[in-house]
């Protein structure tokens, strides 16, 4: 039995790891950039590690640098974090079914549900002979570790980097584009996909690049609900 279990875990890992390789690249680069930036503000590698491991919120951590370099205001930090991370609400709704009945690891999956993990889990089919539970667990765990380790490394060695990484962070844009194309394969996803791009672009033009996410989410929600009959048919 025990042999069997470790075999199944290995199989799940072998299926999960390749899916996370783009995130490995993107998170190491961006995580390191974050660690370097923190360093320049007087926060060493351990602080980057703590922020990444505890808060684990990518772009919000970059925003939070400004919070760490100004007057102490935890309430503002909390509210800003709610707003910047509001998109997670939609990830949770999308994952209600997929994350059902996963027992103990469910809490961890929810705690680490970032853009990239959501994108992979919602776009990739579970391979047929692979267990759902360890598969999702490894995707979440690997993405989490990439970010935490990347930001720690950035704080440690970032300033000595000589390789020109300019543009390498495009891997994450690439990841989202490709997963968008994966969604596009099923016909019923096409109208929602067009709504997502069109409405967000509209919100970006209307509200500017610092304030468009929440209006975009509201408009997407409205469009999806109003267009329900058309989308379902």
């Amino acid at each position: 039995m025990k042999q069997d279990r470790s075999e199944r875990l290995k199989k799940a890992f072998a299926a999960a790891f390749p899916k996370t390789i783009p995130v490995l690249t993107g998170f190491l680069v961006l995580g390191m950039a974050y660690g370097v930036l923190m360093q320049t503000k007087g926060y060493g590698a351990v602080w980057s590690l703590l922020m990444s491991a505890i808060a684990f919120c990518g772009s919000m951590q970059f925003v939070a640098i400004t919070l760490l370099t100004t007057v102490f205001d935890p309430v503002q930090a909390f509210l800003l974090s709610l707003m910047v991370n509001a998109r997670h609400l939609f990830y949770g709704i999308s994952m209600l079914e997929k994350y059902k009945g996963l027992g103990k690891i469910r809490g961890f999956l929810i705690y680490t549900l970032c853009d990239e993990t959501f994108s992979i889990v919602s776009s990739v089919e579970l391979p047929e002979d692979v267990d759902r539970k360890p598969f999702y667990f490894f995707i979440s765990l690997l993405n989490y570790l990439y970010w935490v380790i990347g930001s720690f490394l950035g704080g440690l060695v970032g300033s000595f980097m000589t390789f020109n990484t300019r543009g390498l962070d495009f891997v994450l844009t690439g990841l989202f584009v490709v997963l968008f194309l994966e969604q596009w394969k099923s016909k019923q996803n096409r109208i929602p996909g067009i709504i997502g791009i069109g409405v967000t672009a509209l919100a970006l033009i209307m509200f500017g690049k610092d304030n468009f996410i929440i209006p975009a989410m509201a408009m997407i929600l409205l469009a999806l609900i109003l267009g329900r009959k058309k989308i379902c048919s």
């Binding site: 390749p18 899916k19 390789i21 783009p22 690249t25 503000k41 007087g42 703590l50 808060a55 919120c57 919000m60 939070a64 919070l67 935890p74 309430v75 509210l79 974090s81 709610l82 998109r87 997670h88 609400l89 939609f90 949770g92 709704i93 999308s94 994952m95 209600l96 079914e97 994350y99 009945g101 929810i110 994108s119 776009s123 020109n164 300019r166 543009g167 390498l168 844009t173 989202f176 584009v177 490709v178 997963l179 994966e182 969604q183 596009w184 019923q188 996803n189 929602p192 997502g196 791009i197 069109g198 409405v199 967000t200 672009a201 996410i213 975009a216 997407i220 929600l221 999806l224 609900i225």
Partner: protein, 111 residues
């Protein structure tokens, strides 16, 4: 460091709390054992595609189309990804191809 260590830790926890709430709330509102309302089930099916569109635009938010290089590196690289993906249908090949093209464009071509 402008804040004290304690203040920094409290700030980290405040940011974490905000993040956790946004991730956890849907699972609290619609618990496993109860059937979620129909509209929520519907949304859970259509939101992933819509949010993938949102994330693509989100990644491109800093692109300026009114001055050099007019968003061409992004446009060209995304076109490369789309073509590669139609052709090879391999997630990694498409992403690596698009990223390499993008890096060449921003480091060598549009300097």
């Amino acid at each position: 460091m402008q804040l004290t260590s304690i203040q920094t830790i409290i700030t980290i926890l405040a940011v974490a709390l905000g993040t956790i709430l946004t991730r956890l709330l849907p699972f609290i509102l619609f618990p496993e054992k109860k059937q979620a309302p129909k509209i929520v089930t519907y949304l859970s099916k259509v939101l992933p595609a819509a949010m993938m569109g949102l994330l693509v635009v989100y990644c491109l938010k800093n692109v300026t189309v009114t001055s050099m290089p007019y968003g061409f590196p992004e446009l060209i690289s995304i076109a490369v990804i789309v073509v590669l993906h139609k052709w090879k249908n391999n997630v990694l090949v498409s992403i690596v191809g698009g990223t390499v093209v993008y890096m060449l464009l921003v480091q060598v071509v549009f300097v």
